[in-house]
Amino acid sequence: MKIKYTDSLIIGGGLAGLRTAIATSAKGLSTIVISLVPVKRSHSSAAQGGMQSSLGNCIMGEGDNEDVHFADTVKGSDWGCDQEVVRMFVQTAPKAIRELASWGVPWNRIKKGDREVVINTKKTTITEKEEAHGLINARDFGGTKKWRTCYTADATGHTMLYAVTNEAMRLGVQIEDKKEAISLITKDGQCFGAIVRDLKKGGLTAYVAKGTLIATGGYGRIYKQSTNATICKGTGHAIVLNAGGYMGNMEAIQFHPTPIVPSGILLTEGCRGDGGVLRDKDGYRFMPDYEPEKKDLASRDVVSRRMLEHIKKGKGVMSPYGEHLWLDISILGRKHIEKNLRDVQDISKTFNGIDPADKDKKGWMPVLPMQHYSMGGIRVTPKGESVNIKGLFSCGESACWDMHGFNRLGGNSVSETVVAGMIVGDYFGDFCKKNNINIDTKMVEDELNKQDDYLNNLLKLDGDENIYDIKNEMRIIMQNFVGIFRNGKDLKIAVEKLKTLLQKSKNIKIKNKCRLLNPELEEAYKVPMMLKVALCVAKGARERTESRGAHHREDFLKRDDKNWLNRTISYWKNEDDLEPTLKYEKLDIMKMEMPPAFRGYGKKGNSIENPISQKRQNEVDKITKEHKGDRYELQEKLMPYELQEIYKEKNQRLGDENE
């Protein structure tokens, strides 16, 4: 039996996992990070736009602080988030970015004096302050009051991931790539590590640890079309489900309006920000018909919904890859594109052979809303520990910590990964230090044998199903029935179909009988995992009879704070169940710093109010009115929260003296 021992085991080597590893090794704990791919290729490297952090250095960010960032994030979440976690996050984000700067992220820096920018499609001149020269710059992003998104051109995730990996290597973190966790070792509600498959040789090893943390990213690939990397399959979630662990809000899925077809590579929102428009098969600009006010620049979820609505009316463009719409930036002119949208041009030229600067139809790029981000995930406490399995932690996109609720803001995700790595990593390290486990080798051996037998049995199956067909069907079901528009009828069908597929996946036949490196065998064990994740999404969506954030029900159009101000918990009760069991975790309005109200965008009056919201609002107003002292003390009165002292420190800003 192959066993490896470590203090901390971290499954996943994206930004979240590696920043956690830095935290645990700083505590002197032996730390192993495993990853499907060389860690610098993790999906974090694909983040383009930037990282939110309320430094308030640049002139358009002036006046920004934790309070403003907090309000933006809570509204963005459509009040589905945990407000205490959001507070922890916004307080630490400026520290995270300053730490990253010291590790070498070449953040774009402010140049004093005048510069020309485009605001509301109009050229405008802004003047950066002398004292801000050389500090970290920020750009504009959707859903934020201030310019708060810090960046390195359009490769922010890449530079962040390289800096964090380099720092982890400097500290001697053991990074093992081409390794896949296929199950957790658990007993009596506690986790003792994982069974890991070597993707270079095919063998299994038990990794035994005092604490295990999952940072495996999102699960976008359960959808036919997604901006996510090919490895974002949710296997990290599935191994937790298989161990009986709880998921939170799995139905909360974000769709982005303009990935390019068919590759699903993202085209930035800047295309429309600068004045680009969407067109249908007749070349007609349709958005003003639906959204007379905001037109093509309505919020992400609204534009995505309108696009699909239009396709359903028969206005989509047919292609070998299904229907799509056009994104036209040719109207901006070649000069503008080659200067300001260079990368969009590069992507479009390389992957579609289309130069978007070409005049008229020739330059139109095929786009379609696609799955983009998983708000839901492994349900954890504010300290990052699983709510029902001891010794198991999670952070980053894989976790439902839960700072995004039902919609996350652009730039808040890479920011969450490093911030959670700092905060949760520290708590996780403390846990590993304290937790002296007595390893029951029998238990480890049992789990290893169980997985070994499972793989051998998969090879022996002699059914008539094909695992690739099952996978393809799952992804189409998710795309068509659990997409942007959802309704009870479709969701019911989806759940039933997915259950049938899960059943079918036990009746397959694998052609190649090789036990070691065998891509077909890999599909055979991964697809059932993906199906379980998909079932949590579909069933959660079926039961949630309201519309909140990215979860949109055609048959229940309103946000329902009276009945649905809660978090969906899904889990696998018995191993052989074909669907998850659901229950709900209530959100307590009386504890909120910002009780539910209008988001400030989207339709007004589109919610079923909870009378407690007003009661709490009155209370908040009263405390605020009577408060004497600074904003930090007021915040403490409204909603105290726990956070490590070093992270709670005040963040220094230009203009602090005016506060």
Binding site: P38, K40, R41, S42, H43, S45, A46, P94, K95, R98, E99, A101, S102, W103, G104, P106, N108, R109, I110, L135, I136, N137, T152, A153, A155, H158, T159, Y162, A163, N166, M169, R170, I175, K178, L199, K200, A229, T230, P262, S263, P320, Y321, I347, T350, F351, N352, G353, Y468, N472, K511, N512, C514, L516, L517, N518, P519, E520, K650, N651, Q652
Partner: protein, 238 residues
């Protein structure tokens, strides 16, 4: 009308004793905008479930999918099948890196060794107070560092380098570029003598024979030769 294309790929599983290297030939209809990622996915899901390759981002960002494509090291996900007029595309795994199976190679271990070899991280004795202002950096300097930081460790420069093929420990253009990147970073306290310690030998800066293949094949168009020459001038003076 769509044409039929032929993809010829090396198949070999070194961890299986019965496996012998051979070429497999696949024919499939070409679709509009087809990349090698789309083509290979089609092959893997419909014709040959056993074919292995490395795709992650499929967007030319992560550097995972380097292959020898009709004789040239390139990123497969960024290569369109329509580029090949006769519709015939031959794929080989990247040389220099250990073969895992078929078109899948182990770039991870090679890059890890390189990173450790050149101490690819900020070296500083300063303790940063993260609640206080960050160190100010000239905007132009940040941009220059960013340019070199764009390297995605795809290994195409290594796969096209004669020195790297002959010398197992040569750090390659990727390693030398990394050293330049840190040498211009104001956060890093190392001086030329420190860098000389790391790369002042034939496995480092003096191994390069200036054949330029690295720069020709770098998908990020990094100015590798200029930067290597710059570093060599500095290292000669140490």
């Amino acid at each position: 009308m769509s044409r039929e294309i032929t993809i010829i790929a090396l198949k070999y599983n070194p961890s299986d004793e019965t496996s012998k290297p051979r070429f497999a030939e696949y024919k499939l209809p070409e679709t509009a905008g087809m990349t090698l990622y789309i083509a290979l996915t089609k092959i893997k899901t419909t014709i040959d479930h056993d074919l292995s390759s490395d795709f992650v981002c499929r967007a030319g960002i992560c550097g995972a999918c380097g292959m020898i494509i009709n004789g040239k090291p390139r990123l497969a996900c960024k290569t369109l099948t329509s580029e090949f007029k006769d519709g015939k595309i031959t794929l080989l795994p990247l040389p220099t890196f250990p073969l895992i199976k078929d078109l899948s190679v182990d770039t991870g271990s090679w890059m890890k060794n390189m990173n450790i070899r050149v101490n690819s991280w900020i070296v500083s004795t300063q303790k940063t107070d993260i609640s206080k202002f960050e160190k100010k950096i000239e905007p132009k300097v940040a941009e220059d560092i960013f340019e070199l930081d764009r390297c995605m460790e795809c290994g195409l420069c290594v796969a096209s380098c004669s020195t790297a093929i002959m010398k197992e420990n040569f750090v390659g253009a990727v390693g030398l570029n990394r050293v330049v990147r840190f040498s211009i970073d104001p956060h890093d306290e190392r001086n030329d003598a420190d860098f000389y310690e790391l790369i002042g030998d034939d496995d480092g800066i003096f191994g390069c024979m200036s054949l330029l293949a690295c720069e020709d094949h770098c998908p990020k168009n990094l100015p590798l030769q200029t930067k290597i020459a710059y570093m060599r001038r500095k290292m000669v003076m140490v």
